[in-house]
Symmetry: C2
Subunit: 296 residues, 2 copies
C-alpha cells in the first residue's frame, strides 16, 4: 500500500467526502512561533464550505485558553471548545477513571492549568527549581497519580519525585499525556513528551497505564462523540505518521499528511506500518487554497 | 536452574576456587553514604588470603581518584589502579575506537574528570544552569561524540543539545556509560544513568553504539586483561542481577549476589534470564567474615 500526492482532481473528491477536518497544529498550522503560509486561509476555506474544523494537538504544555489566543493571533477565530489538547484529554481520561485529588506532574503550565480546571490538586510545576536537592525526602503519600508530559524546566528532583511516587505509593497511577518523541522547533528537532515517558518508564520498570494523545483510539472516540462526527466523513490532517496518520487510519478516518513538519518526502516510500500510510500528502495546507482557486 | 544460599560448607570450596574477587560498590560495600557493616573486614580478609580485589562500578559520576578517597575513608586501602568505573571504561573504549577531540556530555564531574584525563575536551558540565535557554542555538559542529550517563544537574538544554549533536552532526557518536535504570540511595530507589540513555535514544531514534558498564563483555575482557585474571578463578560480587550477575555469568566467572542492595530475596525464585541466576547469594558481605571465623 502506498500513499499519493493530492492533485487538483483528487482534491475535489476528497473535499466532497468530508463534513469535518481535524487539524494537528505544530508542523501543520505553524512551526514553533512562525505561522505556516496559507494556514489561516485554509481553515477559513474549509469553514466557508461548511466543514467543521477541530484542532487536535498532542502538545500538553499549553492550555486550551492559550491555544485560542494563538489561533486568534494568527487570524483564525476559535473558542476553547474547538480545541483538543493532550492535557485536556488527560483530564477527561482521569475523570472517567474516577481519579480525584492530588497529582504529581512532570509538565508545564498548560498541564497544570488543565488539571486545576478539572478539579485536581497538581504539584511539581515549580519543582524544577529544586535542583540542588536531588533526592525527594518524603513524598506526599496522598498522591493519586503521576502525569508525565513535556517539561522544559525539568530537574532530577522532579524525575526522582515522580519515580518515587509510582514506585512507593500503593495504587499511584502513571499516565502519559502523549507519545511524541520529538517536535520541530525553529528549524531544530527537539525532545518531546515521549522522551520523558521513556525516562520514567525505565525508572519504574513498567509502561504507563495509558498514553493519552494521538494515536490513542480512546482519544479518537472521545473526539468523535464530543463533536458528533462520522469517521467516514472526517479527515485527520497532520505532519506525523506515528501519531496523526495512525490516529486517523486506525479510527477509519480519511488522512492527509503535510510535509511542512516532521516528516520528509523521502520517508514516504519506507513506511513499515500499514496504519501509518496516509491516503494523500501535500507540501503544506496552503496547497488546499491553490487547488480550490483552480476549481472555482 | 536455581541459586542457593552460600553456607559455611560451600564457603570453603568457593574460597579455594578463587584467585580474585571483583566487587561492585554501591549496594555491596556501601549504600549511598553509609558503609555496609563488615565491608572493610571482608576486603581485608580476602586480601589477607592472597586474593586480588578489584572494584568494578557502573557509577559514572565519581572519578577513580574520588573512589580511592571513599574507600580509604572507610578503612579500605586502595589506589586508582584497583578501580574500574564506567566513566574510566568509557574513555578506554573511546581511545580504542580512535575518537579524539570534543565531546558533549550528559554527566557529572567524575565523567568530566575522566574525559579530561583521557585527553578529550568535554563540555556540558555546567550546562545544567542554562535552563532558561532551552533550545541549543548553534551546536559545536566539531563535537565528535555524545557520552550519556547519570546527571543529577540535568536540564532540558542539555538533553536538547545532546539530541541535536547526534541528530545533526554527521558521524557524531552516541555512547552510554552504563545501563542501570535505578540505583539505591538512602533508602530510596532513584533513576539511574540508563534512564537518561532511554531519553536520548527516544529523541534520536536509535540506541547508543555501545553501553559501556556491566554487563558489557567488552568491559569484562578489558578487566580480565588489565588485571591478568583467569575467569574460572574469579568471582563477581554484586547486588544487581541484570548488571553484576549477568556480567559475571556471561564471562564464565563465579557469581555471588548480596541482598544488601537493589535485589530482594523474593525475586530470586522468579529470575527469567538464565544468565542472571547467581551461583550463590548471601545477605551481605559481612557473612563472609562470619563463615571465615567459623572455619578458622
Amino acid at each position: 500500500m502506498t500513499t499519493q500526492r493530492l492533485t487538483s482532481e483528487s482534491f475535489r473528491t476528497w473535499l466532497d467526502g468530508l463534513d469535518a477536518v481535524l487539524f494537528d497544529c505544530d508542523g501543520v498550522l505553524w512551526r514553533g512561533k512562525t505561522a505556516i503560509s496559507g494556514a489561516k486561509e485554509a481553515v477559513e476555506l474549509l469553514r466557508s464550505l461548511g466543514k467543521r474544523v477541530v484542532f487536535v494537538t498532542n502538545n500538553s504544555t499549553t492550555s486550551r485558553a492559550n491555544y485560542v489566543k494563538k489561533l486568534v493571533s494568527m487570524g483564525i477565530p476559535a473558542v476553547a471548545e474547538d480545541i483538543v489538547t493532550s492535557a485536556w484529554a488527560t483530564v477527561q481520561y482521569m475523570k472517567k477513571q474516577g481519579i480525584q485529588g492530588k497529582v504529581y506532574m512532570v509538565g508545564e503550565t498548560g498541564l497544570d492549568d488543565e488539571l486545576r480546571d478539572g478539579g485536581y490538586e497538581p504539584s511539581g510545576l515549580t519543582d524544577g527549581d529544586r535542583r540542588a536537592n536531588p533526592i525527594p525526602s518524603g513524598i506526599d503519600q496522598d498522591t493519586q497519580a503521576v502525569v508525565v508530559g513535556l517539561d522544559r524546566d525539568i530537574s532530577y528532583y522532579k524525575l526522582a519525585y515522580a519515580t518515587a511516587c509510582i514506585r512507593e505509593i500503593p495504587g499511584c497511577r502513571f499516565i502519559a499525556t502523549n507519545p511524541d518523541q520529538t517536535y520541530p522547533l525553529d528549524g531544530a528537532i527537539t525532545p518531546g513528551g515521549g522522551c520523558f515517558v521513556q525516562f520514567i518508564e525505565a525508572a519504574v520498570g513498567h509502561p504507563p497505564e495509558a498514553v493519552i494523545g494521538k494515536p490513542s483510539q480512546d482519544l479518537l472516540q472521545t473526539v468523535l462523540s464530543t463533536f458528533n462526527l462520522d469517521p467516514a466523513r472526517t479527515c485527520m490532517v497532520g505532519d506525523r505518521l506515528s501519531t496523526d496518520i495512525e490516529f486517523g487510519r486506525r479510527g477509519g478516518l480519511h488522512t492527509l499528511l503535510v510535509l511542512s513538519g516532521i516528516t520528509q518526502e523521502h520517508e514516504l516510500s519506507k513506511i513499515k506500518e500499514p496504519m501509518q500510510v496516509p491516503d494523500f500528502y501535500i507540501d503544506s495546507v496552503d496547497v488546499l487554497n491553490h487547488f480550490h482557486s483552480e476549481i472555482k
